[in-house]
Assembly symmetry: C2
Homo-oligomer: 79 residues x 2
């Protein structure tokens, strides 16, 4: 199984991407985890390290794929 | 089956997104078509009408999802 992590912030663009892109992945080949960075701020650093610059984004096998644009990751970093 | 069209221009960002995102879709639920807009310029208008502004992009069930950024669609329109 390949790991796919969908990072989002609950925004409308995020919800749409989660339903239509993350939700379209083949679950027989991908283990999909959904992470709401607003609710799990401790994982922002992990997303950033994987190359995520904005949400929604999918990290598949370690590479970041930004899907449209909901919010910059910098807006979610704890200040 | 839901129709998913992957629009690209053969660029490195496009090839990567095709392999890792379009290639991750569940083929038991999605019929995936890959369209190289450089080779099929007549389909640029169709992509534009679906809301595609840059490639690579996936149009799933009529909605456009831009995946990272390879090239603006305007660079592929015939002049």
């Amino acid at each position: 199984m390949t790991k796919a992590i969908f990072y989002h912030a609950g925004c409308p663009v995020c919800v749409d991407a989660e339903q239509h892109v993350a939700g379209a992945l083949d679950l027989s080949r991908y283990e999909v985890e959904s992470v709401h960075l607003g609710e799990a701020p401790a994982r922002v650093a992990e997303a950033k390290a994987a190359g995520v610059r904005s949400v929604p984004a999918l990290v598949i096998d370690g590479a970041a794929y930004h899907i449209n644009h909901g919010a910059d990751l910098s807006a979610l970093e704890s200040r």
